[in-house]
C-alpha cells in the first residue's frame, strides 16, 4: 500500500512522520540533529530515499546532511558556500550598503531527474548548485550579477533566497524568490536572470511598482502548468499566467491577504491554499482562528477550511516553507506551525487532524508520496 513520509524541520531538530495511504496512524521519528535549527528537509523526486537537510546554528554555522535510506541514517556532506568573485554589497535595512555575507541555507531543491543534483537557496541571497550529492557547491553567479543586487534589501528574517522552482519539463527554466528583492527567472539554466515582478505593488519601498524590492514570501506552481504561478507576497496573493512576466492580484475575499505559504492541489491546478495571517506585525491568524483558505478557481473566491483546526485563542504562525501536498488520491495537505503542531488533511482540506502537537517551532514541511 502506498504511503507518505513527511519531513519536518524545526528550531531544534528534524522529525520524520510516516503513515500509510490512509494517513490516520502515524509514526514519529526524531529529533534528528537535536539542538540544531533545521531550515529545510527535502527528498529527491528521482530517488525518494535520498534526502537533503539544511542544518544550521548561530554557533557552529551551516551543515548539510544527506540520507540515502529515507532518513534512517545521515552523513555530513559539503558545507562550503563561497560566493563567486567579489561578493559586493546589498542594501541594509536603513538603505546603506552592507557586505554580502553567507548566513545559512533556507531551501534545498533536488532535481527531478538526478538524485545527485540539488540547488540551495541561501542567505545572503544567492543560488548554489551541487552535482555530486551535496559534497561540493558552486554559485550560479548570474543571479547576483544581474545588476540589481546592490539594491536588494533584507526582509525581517534576513535576505534569504527561499523559493526555488524548476520547470519539470525544462530544467533550463528556474524560478526563484528573495525576501525582499522579489522573483527572478532564468531560461538558460542559471547563466542569466531577469526580475519578474511586473504587477506587484508594495508599500514600504520608495517606488511601489519598482522592478525589484518586493517582499515575495512564497511562489507555487503545479507541475502540469509551468507558466501558471501563484504568489503569497508580504501583502497580496498574486497570480501569473505567463511564467511571471505579469502578475495580477487574486486576494479576493480573504480576511487578510498577508501570509507566508501558498501551495497547489496535486491534481487540480486551479485549487490553491493559503493561510491568512493578520498583519506584518501581528504574525497570527485573524480573530484567533486558524483557517486554511482554499480557492478552487485559481484565486479571488476563497473558502475557509476550519474543520479540525482550532477556532479560538490560536496565535501561531505558519512559515513560508511549512506547507506541502502529497500526490495521493485524495490529495493530502500538510502544514506546520510555530507552536509545534503539524496538521494533515487527507481530503484536500475539508477536514484536518494534528499528526503531532508539541514539536519545537516548525520551520518547514515537505512530503514524499511513497509507492
Amino acid at each position: 500500500m502506498s504511503g507518505v513520509r513527511v519531513l519536518v524541520g524545526t528550531r531544534k531538530g528534524a522529525f520524520i512522520l510516516t503513515a500509510d495511504g490512509k494517513r490516520e496512524r502515524w509514526e514519529v521519528s526524531g529529533p534528528h540533529f537535536a539542538g540544531f535549527e533545521i531550515y529545510h528537509v527535502k527528498g529527491s523526486p528521482a530517488d525518494p530515499d535520498r534526502l537533503y537537510a539544511s542544518q544550521t546554528s548561530s554557533w557552529f554555522g551551516q551543515l548539510i546532511q544527506r540520507s540515502d535510506d529515507g532518513g534512517k541514517s545521515w552523513q555530513t556532506v559539503g558545507n562550503e558556500f563561497a560566493y563567486q568573485g567579489v561578493a559586493g554589497t546589498h542594501q541594509w535595512y536603513d538603505g546603506t550598503p552592507h557586505p554580502w555575507e553567507f548566513a545559512r541555507v533556507w531551501h534545498l531543491e533536488p532535481s527531478y531527474t538526478d538524485p545527485d543534483v540539488v540547488y540551495a537557496g541561501v542567505e545572503d541571497a544567492a543560488l548554489f548548485r551541487s552535482s555530486d550529492g551535496g559534497k561540493s557547491w558552486h554559485e550560479l553567479p548570474g543571479l547576483r550579477g544581474h545588476g540589481s543586487g546592490p539594491h536588494w534589501q533584507p526582509g525581517a528574517g534576513g535576505m534569504c533566497l527561499h523559493t526555488i522552482i524548476v520547470d519539470p519539463g525544462n530544467p533550463e527554466r528556474i524560478f526563484i524568490a528573495i525576501s525582499a528583492a522579489g522573483a527572478f527567472r532564468t531560461d538558460d539554466g542559471g547563466k542569466s536572470w531577469r526580475p519578474i515582478n511586473r504587477g506587484l505593488k508594495s508599500e514600504g519601498i520608495p517606488d511601489p511598482n519598482a522592478e525589484v524590492g518586493h517582499c515575495v514570501h512564497r511562489i507555487a506552481m503545479h507541475p502540469s502548468r509551468p507558466n501558471v504561478l501563484f504568489m503569497q507576497k508580504h501583502w497580496d496573493v498574486m497570480r501569473s499566467d505567463d511564467a511571471g512576466d505579469t502578475w495580477r492580484e487574486v486576494s479576493g475575499n480573504l480576511p487578510s491577504d498577508f501570509g507566508f505559504p501558498i501551495d497547489v492541489h496535486a491534481h487540480e491546478p486551479e485549487t490553491i491554499y493559503v493561510v491568512p495571517i493578520k498583519s506584518d506585525s501581528e504574525h497570527f491568524p485573524p480573530d484567533g482562528k486558524l483557517r486554511v483558505y482554499r480557492s478552487r478557481s485559481g484565486g479571488n473566491e476563497w473558502q475557509a477550511l476550519t474543520k479540525g483546526l482550532p477556532q479560538r485563542d490560536c496565535y501561531v504562525n505558519v512559515l513560508r516553507d511549512a506547507m506541502a501536498v502529497d500526490t495521493l488520491d485524495a490529495c493530502g495537505v500538510y502544514f506546520g506551525t510555530t507552536g509545534g503542531q503539524v496538521y494533515v488533511s487527507a481530503d484536500a482540506g475539508d477536514s484536518w487532524a494534528p499528526i503531532v502537537r508539541d514539536l519545537p517551532a516548525v520551520l518547514s514541511v515537505e512530503v514524499e508520496t511513497l509507492p
Partner: protein, 98 residues
C-alpha cells in the same frame, strides 16, 4: 597527546564521547589544534572556524588553563600545560541562550 574538549553539539556531529586526544606538532597553537580536529573529523570543517577566512566563529570561544584565549593570535603558542596534555584545550559554545 593534546586533550581537547568539544561542545556537546560538535561531539554529536563527530560521533565522539568525551575528550579528543590529538597528535599536534610543536609549537602547539589554536590553529594547529583546529587543523588536527578538521583532519580527523572532516564533518567539523566550517563549524569552529569559517572556511574562507579561517577566523574563529563569533559564538565559539577558546579557553585553556582558566584563561580566555579566544582573542589571542591563532598562531600563538599555547601554555605548556596544554602542549603536554596536562590540561585540556576547551572549545566552547558562547553562553548565549537558545
Amino acid at each position: 597527546m593534546i586533550r581537547v574538549v568539544l561542545p556537546a553539539n560538535l561531539r554529536k556531529l563527530a560521533h565522539v564521547d568525551g575528550e579528543l586526544a590529538l597528535d599536534v606538532a610543536a609549537p602547539v597553537t589554536p590553529r594547529r589544534i583546529v587543523d588536527a580536529i578538521e583532519e580527523r573529523y572532516p564533518m567539523l570543517r566550517g563549524t569552529i572556524r569559517d572556511h574562507a577566512t579561517q577566523r574563529r566563529r563569533p559564538f565559539v570561544r577558546f579557553f585553556a588553563c582558566e584563561q580566555d584565549l579566544s582573542h589571542e593570535s591563532p598562531d600563538a603558542a599555547l601554555p605548556d600545560a596544554i602542549a603536554s596534555g596536562m590540561e585540556p584545550f576547551l572549545i566552547v559554545g558562547a553562553m548565549a541562550g537558545g
